[in-house]
């Protein structure tokens, strides 16, 4: 799983590489007079995302000690946070004011954001599957590989969110034209 994630992380690194390469390639960034994206709401989303690691961690601890009810509770808490974040992202997309096909900047912004959204959706699907199996009583203190793997992917989605927040919202501040 970790090896698989390192391949996906390389995919993310390649996309971030593309973003900065094109940013430094252009004398103006964002292009065509588009304003730099506001940091406020995405920062709140990021804080929620980071906070969501706590219930995921606690879910793993609970099943490690054999506490089934706690496992279900913490998994559900994480799922609620995940859905709220997805909702905020959907609102963010709606309020963007540009589409992917305007110029290279908008193409990058939409594609990289979508990459995070897709990872979050997969993390949520895994979370729901784990919840279903938790209700069916598939896990025990000795055997809960499924919980561990779903948690690992959730952490990955969080890491991906942090990296892309830094790239898309803080990255443009590195542009020499800003200083």
């Amino acid at each position: 799983m970790l090896l698989g994630l390192s391949a996906v992380a390389t995919l993310l690194a390649s996309l971030v590489f593309a973003y900065f390469m094109l940013m430094f390639h252009n004398s103006e960034w964002p292009l065509d007079g588009i304003r730099r994206p506001a940091v406020g709401t995405p920062a709140i989303g990021l804080a929620l995302l980071v906070a969501s690691t706590v219930p995921v961690l606690l879910a793993g601890r609970a099943i490690g000690a054999g506490r089934q009810r706690e496992l279900r509770l913490w998994l559900a808490t994480a799922a609620v946070l995940g859905v709220v974040i997805l909702g905020m992202q959907a609102r963010g997309y709606a309020g963007l004011g540009f589409a992917h096909d305007v110029n290279a900047y908008t193409s990058l912004f939409v594609t990289l954001s979508a990459f995070h959204t897709i990872n979050l959706v997969i993390a949520l699907i895994l979370n729901f599957a784990t919840q279903a199996r938790a209700w069916l009583g598939h896990f025990s203190a000795e055997y809960h590989e499924g919980v561990r793997l779903a948690a690992l992917f959730w952490y990955w989605a969080v890491v991906c969110g942090i990296v892309l927040f830094a790239t898309l919202f803080l990255g443009p501040l590195l542009d020499p034209a800003v200083q």
Binding site: S6, A7, S107
Partner: protein, 634 residues
Amino acid sequence: MTTTEDTRPSVQTADLDRAWATPPGFIGWLSNVNHKAIGFRFIVTAFIFLLIGGLQAALIRTQLIGPEQGFLGPDAYNQAFTLHGTTMMFLFAVPMIEGLAMYLVPMMIGSRDLPFPRLNAFGYWLYLFGGIFLYWSLFTGSVPDGGWFNYPPLSGPQFRPDTSIDFWLLGVTMTEIVGIVGALELVVCIARHRAPGMSLNRIPVFVWGVLVTSLMILFAFPPLVAGGLLLELDRKIGTHFYNPMAGGDPILWQHLFWIFGHPEVYIMLIPAVGMLATMVPAFTRRGIVGYPLVVVSLVAIGFISFGLWVHHMFAAGLPALAMAFFTAASMAIAIPSGVQVFALIATLWRGKLVWSTPLLYIVGFVLVFVLGGITGVMVASVAFDWQVHDTFFVVAHFHYVLIGGVVLPILGGLHYWFPKMTGRMLDERLGKIAFWLIFGGMNLTFFPQHILGFLGMPRRVYTFQSGLGWDFYNLVSTLGTYVTVAGFLVYTANMAINWSRGRPAGDNPWDAPGLEWATSSPAPAYNFAAGPTVSSLYPLWEPEGAAPRGQPGLLDELQGHRREIVGTTVLDAEAIEILELPGNSLWPLIAALAIVLFLFAVMIDSIVLGGIGLGAIVGSLACWLWTGSERTHE
């Protein structure tokens, strides 16, 4: 010999046969997940693609046999060299190496199977469909023709609005995913399922090579997947990543492509060298000289190869500092490569040579690869590179590297492990004839191309005019190709004839030291009835009764009625657990078909079909995961 005690009381071979059996009939064949069945399918399919790619090479050379020929014409010529490069790199070299690794690695390290058998089967189906997908373009009339690297803007939406590049992008992306999936599996297998006692310093060199290559694949293939994704988005939904008119940059593709493309060369070379170093003891009757140095240099090549990609872009107008750095790195990689060549030469020098066909391929590798390496150091220099960039000199250089460093080792390896796979020997006389035809033919083909490059003949141009001094060298080069083709025909005929009619091989026809020869040839589905233990690098050459190290006690608990393999620690390979593997399944095939359906929908811009495909992917993966994962018995 401590490795072949099939007499432990707890294991009944009848139970094992039942637990590892494949259901009869076509459906059973489709659901087979055993590493040898899947590895063998990879090898056969990749070999067929090698023959197809070779045929394209013959077409290309026939067009260039003399000045102003009309055999192919410019369009067909572009398609031929694009498909030749793509087939050889994506559909032959990497799948062939992964197929050999899937087949051989579990046996070489004393395991019964790979740890994720269904993932393995999924990889094969996706590879087969990816190859068919790419070649399907032949029937639609829009065949990819942008070269094996498909640089935009030529491959972008403005200049290639038809579906040719889509076939290429989606087909290649599928084979990239196959590479990643196979790599994951091989890394876990090598790290966690070696026979007890096979500590890091007792791993066969081929297995080391596969480990290094697999780790490289995990970091080299995703950039091309990313690059391909961005290009497909540019082509399909109007993004502007590579469009300079809207702030994009085609050089971005070159970076992403070569960050993949340069490690790719070593991804093919490292296991090929490992193969030779694993075969050479059988033909020199001694161990490889400098085993630790060979392994360390394999690892070093793995790292350095990620710092070379810009040398493919010296003519793209990059900063001088970058070019200086990449020149230095490109020259530095000659050092570990040299260590390996010298280790092979020293082994040959100190050994008692047995001149069987595989040894010819080993010596052929040394000769051809060194020539390719020397021209490689030459083009690493920016000043020289600018002179020969895009000429036939470069074509000659990389064919020497790839034929010497990849094709010859693979041909030798297939000759060497053919008895392992079929229980039959290949004919030595035909084998030697094939070697000399291929070896002579390839030198005749590519040596004159160095001179053509110096004379200024550009690559990828479908014809040339007479009076430039190029006629004679082109003629020789084309005749050499025909000799090579004849060699491949002999090689293939040798396999076809001796597949079922060859001399019976016995279990260890070469008297080789590797663990893969400790079981019968061909091996049963479970490889080893009792888990073997290992106490040296050459387990079959140990004196009778050498004591195994580690704690083999756990092996006695292996059950016969389930598919079980032993889990061992990463460094010292001490047995710590027994894992139960899942059995035959059709879900990998269905998941691969779902992915093909989805990509086909992308291709024809059908949102409905795309939705169905996406749903089918999620559904089949869910069924796959739900139907049981590996279980551990501590």
